[in-house]
Symmetry: C2
Subunit: 315 residues, 2 copies
């Protein structure tokens, strides 16, 4: 039995398949008209493209997982401004031979994740191409008068706080690279962190409303992301080695793979962990992982230069 | 002398090249925070993906022209709701071997076109991939209490009005397919309509403010786009053959290519001509091309079934 492909059913029915999984009042015209914004709110917008073979592999992730990840990495950028994700658009290029079930799976992964945030898939575009390419745009709402949480507003004397694991996604990727999907089951949480990174709704708003001034998410790697924050804010960011120490599970995986788990912590990205700086109490759901200082625009670990530097770069 | 490529300069400098051409106050963080919207306005959003070899060819169009077209096709969708384009995002996948000059050219084409609308490129993403893929998202603002111009609100008794040429882009494409860039110079306006379709700022708002109820743009082809409007609005749309008759230049090109110019008019898309229905005066910049009737949800030409049907489909 051969599986039905996008080429078999054509563009219009393929789009209907997505809309069935992700119904929206706003969809189906030249453009989507969103509802009136809350008074005194501003729109926040970001886009991220995922290319098959570079950002995901069909033999490592299910279509649902790919859809999930595409939403998380975009919504994390919205949350990192202190805003609330409200809507997403999906532009998708796919070979005509792509099974309709793959399309449905991606749409389902997107729909589930978007629903977690009470957001909505409001539009998109579907086109043929040699590779699967997902381009997601996320919109969010930033309410009230507090400034947004930019990357250039870390201030000496503040704490650095994080919400989520650091390095788990890189460990999971290393396991997939070594074992494919036959990785030892005890490491499932690490592989899950890579395939379906978690992102808790509301965390960005909590950080903003409790006094954080700067925030970003751990997408390119800890030293890369916080190094950029240090540069843009003209501060030194010192991380507490105890607070970012690799977890026991990461240590085990590293022993098995003969890898250095500190490299995962310091250079692995894609955890999409929110990292903020604040002079007040630690926001609910966050923990302290370091402090902000005057001095050279750099990142240090317990006052020392990091053992590993770098992170994801596209070229 | 070898040309500098994106792979040579790396992701960060490549992004800086785009930002130099298209500076924005909103750019450079996890996400872009837009300014406060005008009171009683709503956000309109759309996305369109262009894949090299399918939607454009590097030997037929300059990078500037590709950037131009990517903005026009997205801003046309915003205008087709009766809204004003305000911002754009660009997600771009490119092979590392892509010359930096190509990136700069695309960015310049985008910047110029965006500036025509007093809009701004507020963010984006740059990633490596085997093909050049541009995914543009456009945002717009829909002010006031009048409803947006949807595709399902054409009403019997209305006029059909259009702003722009119909079929010129398809004629230009046919010339490029036959001659490449060595097409006879007298047909330059047709080729220009394909490479750099024009879109006049404000036309969508004019239509909305003067009483139009339905609008779309001619992106997939006249019978496809208006056929969808007829279906969704449960009306028959009759076009006046005199009003949509191929231009003299199209007739000449058709004679040369041994083609039927009516096929360009009826099935060619990508003109991005705004087509609206209204019961009141013809909006400024528009001309009457037909009328809306009760009856079978279809499109007719002078009361007859069109000689050609169909249009662009992705699969």
């Amino acid at each position: 039995m051969t599986e039905l492909t996008i080429g078999d059913i054509g563009e219009h029915r393929a789009i209907e398949e997505i809309q069935k999984v992700s119904p929206s009042r706003h969809n189906g015209d030249d453009a989507a008209v969103l509802g009136h914004a809350s008074p005194n709110s501003r729109v926040v917008v970001t886009t991220d493209m995922l290319v098959e073979g570079r950002h995901f592999r069909m033999d490592w992730s299910t279509p649902e997982q790919i859809g999930h990840k595409a939403i998380v990495q975009n919504f994390a950028d919205i949350q990192a401004m202190g805003a609330r994700p409200t809507a997403a658009l999906l532009a998708l290029s796919a070979p005509p031979s792509t099974p309709v079930s793959v399309l449905r799976g991606i749409a389902r992964g997107i729909a589930l994740r978007v629903a977690d945030f009470s957001a909505e898939l409001v539009g998109g575009d579907l086109t043929s191409g040699d590779h699967l390419v997902l381009s997601v745009t996320a919109l969010g709402s930033l309410g009230g008068n507090l400034p947004e949480l930019t990357i250039d507003r870390a201030r000496p004397g503040q704490k650095v706080v994080a919400s989520g694991e650091i390095g788990h996604s890189a460990a999971g990727l290393a396991l997939l690279e070594r074992y494919g999907t036959d990785f030892p089951r005890e490491f499932a949480p690490l592989v899950a962190a890579h395939r379906t990174p978690s992102l808790v709704p509301g965390r960005g708003m909590v950080a903003r409303s409790t006094g954080a001034t700067a925030m970003t998410d751990n997408s390119d790697g800890l030293t890369a992301d916080l190094g950029l924050m240090a540069q843009r804010s003209h501060v030194r960011i010192d991380l507490d080695p105890e607070a970012i120490r690799p977890s026991a599970l990461m240590e085990e995986a590293a022993a098995l793979l003969d890898a250095d788990p500190w490299e995962w912590v310091l250079c692995g990205g894609e955890d999409h962990t929110l990292i903020a700086t604040t002079a007040t109490d630690v926001p609910s759901g966050f923990r302290t992982i370091g402090s902000v200082h005057k001095g050279p625009e750099d990142i240090t670990i317990g006052g020392q230069s990091p053992a590993h530097r770098g992170g994801w770069v596209s070229f």
